[in-house]
């Protein structure tokens, strides 16, 4: 097995509305290695949120995953039944949403909501289970000892409780054997309430909520925006998921609070070694947080590479255009921004070729006829632009490759 935690293959998700099929995601493929933060950047309607909702299998009617595979840890999530996927959500996959107010239920306390997830998914570790077996063993020994004592004694009065004691003993032995057998099969018991509470508090502490023991009993409205987002992060972390999807978690927050949350995510990643997919439209956040970046547009992947690839040698005209649209922090003479003309494509009736071709400075005949495959630029970078094709005219700033990256 490869060390990819997630492989998305030719994923297509559409929404079937009364106007027709809105093709939100149009065949995207990528893989994600364990650990690290993948950033997905794109504008509204680029399919970045829908693609991640598809991974969580949270696309609701009238939306549907039309085609493709999502291999998570060796399992194709698309093929799972609704019941099976529920075991994954929260446990293996967790999501942090944009609006911290609407993603917490206002009528339950933070404690209720966190414990619910933990109680549903968390099993105690093998070591702890073995420990418990040991303590069971000790009680068994104790019982046996008292039983022996009683047999030895001649006094008949003392023999009275013998039968009940024996029954208790067999029960405990049965229990121990069952637990041992379960441990062999890799099953341990679920958390009990006290343990769940302890765990919830532990994670609230990790995300930096002061006095978690008292604040856990509060309702979401008693938390401020940044605190709510922290609580959501804690909830997502509580079951130690292998993958966390954060869908614009800082967009609704102020810059100073955003800085706090980004700091927190960095810390979490470092300490817990979780894999994070971070979805945003803000190039600055991407540059700050991520190691790998996918640029999406019109439901397709335009470019993929490391942060340095995407920021210092972008190979797709769209990525370049995005960089030029954002003011660079230069002092002195005002430099005019170079906007991308036109507006994003209508996914109800997307362009046949490259989705960016109607707005692209370098559009060629081939661009409006056929979408470009992902051309391999380097070991880490791929770009979906016909300019990378060997036949295309030379343009400064764009590399050419011969090969097509199929992987």
């Amino acid at each position: 097995m490869s060390n990819n935690i997630l492989e998305v293959k030719n994923l297509k998700t559409s929404f079937f509305t009364h106007l027709g099929e809105v093709q939100a995601v149009r065949g995207i493929s990528y893989e994600l290695k364990k650990g690290g933060i993948l950033g997905i950047v794109g504008e509204s309607g680029s399919g970045k949120s829908v693609s991640s909702l598809s991974i969580m299998r949270l696309v609701d009617d009238p939306g549907r995953i039309v085609e493709g595979e999502i291999i998570f840890d060796g399992v194709d999530l698309v093929k799972l039944s609704e019941k099976e996927i529920q075991d994954y959500r929260g446990k293996e996959l967790a999501m942090i949403f944009q609006d911290p107010m609407t993603s917490l239920n206002p009528v339950f306390t933070i404690k209720n909501q966190m414990m619910e997830v933990i109680l549903r998914h968390m099993h105690i570790t093998k070591e702890k289970a073995l420990e418990e077996v040991n303590s069971l063993d000790e009680t068994i020994k104790e019982y046996e000892k008292t039983l022996k004592d009683k047999e030895k004694s001649i006094d008949k009065k003392n023999n009275k409780g013998k039968a009940s004691l024996e029954a208790k003993l067999t029960k405990i032995i049965k229990k121990r054997d069952k637990v041992l057998k379960d441990i062999e099969n890799g099953i341990t018991r679920k958390y009990n309430k006290a343990e769940a509470l302890e765990r919830a508090i532990h994670y609230l502490k990790i995300v930096g909520i002061p006095e978690p023991e008292t604040r856990i009993n509060e309702y979401p409205h008693q938390f401020s925006g940044g605190m709510r987002q922290r609580a959501l992060v804690a909830m997502a972390l509580a079951c130690e998921p292998k993958l966390i999807i954060a869908d614009e978690p800082t967009t609704a927050l102020d810059v100073t609070i955003q800085a706090q949350i980004l700091d927190l995510l960095k810390k979490v990643k470092k300490e817990l070694d979780t894999t994070i997919i971070f979805i945003t439209h803000d190039l600055g956040v991407i540059a700050e947080l991520c190691q790998e970046v996918i640029v999406m547009y019109g439901g397709m992947i335009m470019e993929k590479g490391t942060v340095d690839d995407i920021f210092y040698s972008p190979q797709h005209p769209y990525t370049k255009g995005l960089h030029q649209s954002v003011p660079k922090d230069v002092v002195g003479q005002k430099k005019r921004l170079v906007p991308i003309t036109g507006s994003p494509p209508d996914l109800l009736n997307p362009p046949k070729g490259c989705p960016f071709s109607p707005r692209c400075k370098y559009a060629m005949q081939i661009c409006i006829e056929e979408p470009a495959p992902l051309f391999k630029i380097s070991d880490t970078q791929v770009s979906s632009c016909w300019l990378q094709h060997e036949y295309s005219p030379d343009v400064e700033g764009f590399k050419k490759t011969g090969g097509v990256n199929n992987g």
């Binding site: 504008e43 800085a259 540059a287 002092v331």
Partner: protein, 385 residues
């Protein structure tokens, strides 16, 4: 930019919302959205107003344009007073009455002479304040403002256009209200404006929902331009737009400024865009102006601790620069502007805060030429003389 001509001047502007009062009308809860801020805008310049959500920047813009009546302070447009607030006297009178009650408590009841003299003293004071309130109110009523001078561009392109009106009706509404043109001239004007903002003539008969966000924002700009304004208040005009569209709108605003000799008050929370478009910037925090400076000066040399941390919080679209820059991550969050405590509003989150900060309101003063800061210890923090 014409440095000899101040187009808009705001002096001690206050906007308070009295959100709770007793049955007898005593105000118990006051939301001080804008609390005593002063600044001015030169003709032809772009003045940026930044701050986090809830800092009162939008309220400030709306008060200037007259959507809200100001509680206190004066607004001058082209050296002419257009609005003066009188509501604040209510609170002042209430405070004076409270003061009297406190003082009366200290005096023993037997001392009737002293009580009486004190009461008379305060009665005179209150009467004077009431007279002042009346005269200010009369003054405010007599002031005239030309709605054509100041126009506004709104944040949300989806709610700023009436969904039941065609584009042409939306743009021409102001022209028709003031009977600036008639008949075919209106139509011609609408076409001209649509083309100015990069739309087509055919669009005039369509409804707003047929357009994308960027196009709607252009319609909103055309509506503001229709009145031939001198000053346009841009209330977060780009924050609801996509990155690639933001640049289009910003460029267009710059072009229009040149073409029509416009002055902008640009309100936003996106500091990098504000920095790009503005000549001078004011930083607000919880209803107070913290720092005003030219945009280059502010970015290179922020003097107020809040500005410093705000600037360092912006993630730059440049991974290397991010690694090098040192973040000043603020603790805690913005507190509520309801019944604010005395002293500097930022004191609770400021790492330089001292006792004085939570007792005395800092006054905004000119530290360097055209660089204003409201902080008691600005010189000490920045090693200035």
């Amino acid at each position: 930019m014409d440095k000899n001509h101040i187009l808009l001047e705001v002096k001690n502007l206050k906007k308070h919302f009295y959100i709770k009062h007793t049955i007898l009308g005593k105000i118990t809860k006051t939301l001080k959205a804008v609390d005593d801020i002063s600044f001015f805008i030169y003709k032809g310049e772009t003045f940026g107003l930044v701050g986090e959500s809830g800092c009162g920047k939008t309220t400030c813009g709306r008060t200037i344009i007259g959507l809200y009546e100001n509680t206190g302070g004066e607004v001058y447009f082209d050296n002419k007073l257009i609005s003066v607030g009188y509501e604040e006297f209510k609170l002042i009178i209430q405070d004076v009455k409270d003061e009297l009650k406190l003082k009366l408590k200290d005096i023993p009841k037997e001392d009737t002479a002293k009580t009486k003299s004190l009461k008379d003293d305060y009665k005179g004071k209150i009467r004077e304040l009431k007279l002042q309130r009346k005269s200010t109110k009369r003054l405010n009523k007599s002031l005239e403002r030309n709605p054509r001078d100041i126009q506004m561009i709104f944040q949300d392109p989806f709610t700023s256009l009436n969904p039941r009106m065609t584009v042409s009706e939306i743009i021409s509404e102001g022209i028709k209200t003031h009977k600036l043109l008639s008949g075919e001239a209106i139509e011609e004007r609408v076409f001209y404006l649509l083309e100015t903002v990069g739309l087509k003539r055919e669009h005039a008969s369509r409804y707003p929902h047929e357009f994308s966000g960027g196009q709607r924002q252009r319609i909103g700009i055309a509506r503001a331009l229709a009145m031939d304004p001198k000053l346009i208040i841009c209330d977060e005009p780009i924050s609801a737009l996509d990155v690639s569209i933001q640049a289009q709108v910003v460029n267009m605003l710059e072009d229009l400024q040149e073409q029509f000799d416009l002055t902008y008050l640009f309100i936003a929370h996106d500091l990098s865009m504000v920095k790009h478009i503005s000549d001078r910037i004011g930083v607000m925090y919880l209803g107070k102006m913290m720092e005003v400076a030219s945009s280059d000066d502010l970015y290179q040399n922020p003097l107020h601790p809040y500005t410093q941390s705000l600037l360092s919080s912006i993630p730059l679209p440049d991974p290397e620069a991010n690694k090098q820059s040192k973040r000043i991550i603020l603790k805690g969050e913005v507190t509520s502007p309801i019944n604010p405590k005395p002293g500097c509003r930022f004191a609770g989150r400021c790492k330089y805060a001292q006792e004085k900060c939570s007792q005395v309101d800092p006054v905004i003063e000119e530290i360097k030429p055209l660089h204003f800061v409201a902080c008691h210890f600005v010189r000490e923090i920045n090693d200035l003389k």
